[in-house]
Amino acid sequence: MGTTQSGIHRGRLAPAEYETNFSDLHPRLDDHEALVAADRCYFCHDAPCMTACPTSIDIPLFIRQISTGNPIGSAKTIFDQNILGGMCARVCPTETLCEQACVRNTAEHRPVEIGRLQRYATDVAMTENKHFYERAERTGKAVAVVGAGPAGLASAHRLAMNGHDVVVFDAREKAGGLNEYGIATYKTVDDFAQKEVDYVLAIGGIEVKNGLKLGRDFTLADLTANFDAVFLGMGLAGVNALRAEGETLPGVVDAVDFIAELRQAEDKAAIPVGRRVVVIGGGMTAIDAAVQAKLLGAEEVTICYRRGKEHMNASPFEQDLAASKGVMIRHWLQPKRVIAKDGHVAGIEVEYTEMRDGTLTGTGETGVLAADQVFKAIGQSFEASGLGSLAMSGGRIVIDSEGRTSVPNVWAGGDCVKAGEDLTVTSVAQGRDAADSINRMLAAGAQPAVAVA
């Protein structure tokens, strides 16, 4: 069964292979594994891992709670700082955050497995349906949250906890944002993103309205007129163009669409993939698309990145993962034009690049990579719409240290703001902190809501 024929086809593999290929990348540690892993934590003072965590989870404490047989208490320690600690345990680039800071690296070059321990504790609590937070007495204040991704969910949860009524608007069919649509399937199996959404919403006081898009169905002004405060937590809906000839040919695909389609597909065999695939880009999206193309049965998958290995946004761990799945990563190559044959992609012409006087420049030397399918993964952009006079910089929303925008009573966080790395965990921290700031404002009754016309 399966097919190796050229072109873009579904069902390249036998059914069992899909099952294996898209199973959990790092299954949850069992109880014994968790104890052994937890025993390695030194319970550092003012621990570097905790400092490295954008949500400042008390890592030494939660690991010690695991080692003393209290995974439920451990989960609460995690959720106190990060209500999406379950997803962060799956998708955080721990190798550049907490685990990079782990002091075990100094003497042994092997950190405590913080991410997997966090997954263990949060999984135990969520499986047992343990909820740790209750709403405070209702304040009668209403807050609008735009975007049901990590930033929006984190802020909504914290706002609801403080007794405010929250309405979350999301453009997509399902809540979760990138957690639902933008993460490789093998990192979050068993519909975990939706389970986590349910877990977060279980606190009550949060209404999610799907299919409503800012700028299309409502404006920021509508929200400020009707709510006491607004949190903007949108993602990056725009995909950067290749700016190469042939970009619109059939077979040239946005990597984010491919990733989302795979996540939503009940049957992975239904997703077609090329025999030869070229991915243009150097970030996590490029890796996720390339690896999954390979897992779908593509014979040859090549990532072309226009700079060097050290410049790639994808972490070394992700690069190694791609290599282990048989993805070839090539550096210092930029796309020149997509080559067509019979109206369909047949290859891509690339040009070698180099740094010349601090500027990336094509060398003039070109070559052709045969390809049935080309994925664009050269970055996403914020598509601002319906924001009125909100101050922007570099295409993103400007916020202060508390997440306040230029418009009174409007806060923002997540990928749409110009602050922090574009990571799930950073978005959670921004959403949570903005919610705290909103709560302080509402509690003080400092400013009545005003409409921005």
Partner: protein, 437 residues
């Protein structure tokens, strides 16, 4: 190659590692395996008097505490003496001794505190060809409720009396095993010596409740809903045993009395520590019960290699070498001053030295220097207590460095006095002895 041959009160064994009287030495099958693995001797599990044997519980007999990675640190048991028929044991002992003439075979004995009981069993044991006997005056559970074991060991007069009987009724060397469940270990040791014992062995196990089941609210091990105190052994008891061995070794009344050291010996290094503190050989149980008999091979090679590296030819070269260096607190040199030193290349920046010192000691270790996470000893605050050394997870990262005489101690602002001076002459001591006029 160092000569590890052991001659303990005339009992010869190819090495100083004996298995203590305990489950590993309960029958020929186990002892044969032990000798094959290389053990120098065994003390056969304690024999009781003729007649129906004791019975053990049929539920759990052991409890434990663990360190990281579930490494067993302390074991507790509520098992009694052998629950096999006396004659079965004697027959097997005789056969094993015939099979292994070069190994030491000692019979541990516990019978009621009556002369006739001891007089009856000693010839039976002697007939097996055993090399010696060990009097079990230590077992802290079960048997002590019946007036034996620790119930004898806690009364020096009884010890002396029974030892005297044994010396009277057998030609075999007598080793008196002492219980640590007593205030001053020197008292039973002196009594044993007064009775004419050839040696003492210590320590037996320590009264203990190892843990409590928080669901059933019963001590572990739990037998049908109840628990009882057991005897504690394993690595956790080693420090207690070392002190008691040293106390006997340096007591003028018992100095020179042969000691078989027991208590948490797990590695060659543990064994060497007992030997240099005055033990003539060592007995092991928990380490074997944790890892199997093969661990003796690590002990033999480790001790031999260390002796070779240090130029010690045989056990006589090392036995008791540390005894002169064990003293009373009052004789410690108060003019000796040491400061902790952190090797910055080895430091992994966990901060445990800092927080231990900051929260619980002398506020003598930095956390930040020039805004960077950096742990360094402030010599003007360091009292040289050694806590940081002990909490540091990296071996040899923090060391204590003694200040040379004449060097300024930044904490006191005074130079280090080159002269020895202790508490007995210290001006703050109201009992200080004045120098003669």
């Amino acid at each position: 190659m160092a000569d590890l041959r052991n001659n303990f009160v005339g009992i010869k064994s190819p090495n100083p590692f004996w298995l203590a009287s305990a489950p590993p030495t309960d029958k020929a099958y186990n002892v044969e395996r032990a000798f094959k693995a290389g053990w120098g001797g065994v003390v056969w599990k304690t024999l009781g008097e003729e007649g129906p044997p004791v019975v053990n519980v049929n539920g759990p007999r052991y409890g434990a505490i663990w360190g990281a990675d579930r490494r067993l640190l302390g074991l507790n048991n509520i098992e009694l003496i052998t629950d096999r028929d006396l004659y079965t044991n004697l027959r097997e002992m005789k056969q094993v001794k015939m099979n292994w003439p070069d190994r030491a075979l000692i019979a541990s004995i516990m019978v009621p505190c009556e002369e006739e009981s001891w007089k009856a069993i000693l010839p039976l044991v002697e007939e097996t060809g055993a090399d010696g006997i060990e009097l079990n005056f230590g077992c802290p559970h079960g048997m002590s409720e019946r007036g034996m074991g620790a119930a004898v060991g806690q009364v020096p007069e009884y010890i002396e009396m029974v030892v005297r009987w044994c010396k009277q009724y057998t030609r075999m060397p007598v080793i008196t095993k002492l219980t640590p469940n007593i205030t001053d270990i020197r008292k039973p040791a002196r009594a044993a010596k007064a009775g004419g014992t050839d040696a003492v062995s210590l320590i037996n196990t320590i009264n203990s409740i190892v843990s409590v089941d928080l669901d059933s609210f019963a001590p572990n091990p739990t037998v049908g809903g109840k628990g009882t105190h057991g005897g504690y052994c394993g690595p956790a008891v080693k420090p207690i045993a070392l002190n008691m061995v040293a106390e006997i070794a340096r007591d003028p009344e018992t100095h020179g009395l042969p000691i078989s050291g027991i208590g948490g010996i797990t590695t060659w290094r543990d064994a060497a520590e007992f030997l240099v503190l005055g033990a003539g050989n060592v007995q092991v149980c928990t380490a074997a019960m944790t890892y199997g008999f093969k661990i003796v091979q690590e002990m033999i090679t480790g001790l031999s290699d260390w002796m070779d590296a240090k130029g010690h030819r045989d056990l006589d070269d090392i036995c008791g070498r540390a005894v002169p260096n064990v003293t009373d607190w009052q004789y410690l040199n108060l003019n000796y001053i040491a400061k902790a030193h952190i090797d910055q290349d080895a430091c992994i920046k966990c901060g445990r030295c800092h927080i231990a010192c900051e929260d619980t000691s002398h506020q003598a270790i930095t956390q930040f220097v020039d805004g960077l996470r950096h742990f360094e000893v402030m010599e003007d605050e360091c009292v040289g207590c050694n806590l940081c050394v002990n909490v540091c997870p990296v071996e040899n990262c923090i060391t204590m460095v003694g200040l040379e005489p004449g060097v300024l101690d930044q904490r006191t602002g005074k130079p280090v006095d080159p002269n020895y001076a202790n508490w007995t002459t210290h001006p703050n001591n109201p009992m200080a002895k004045q120098a003669a006029e």
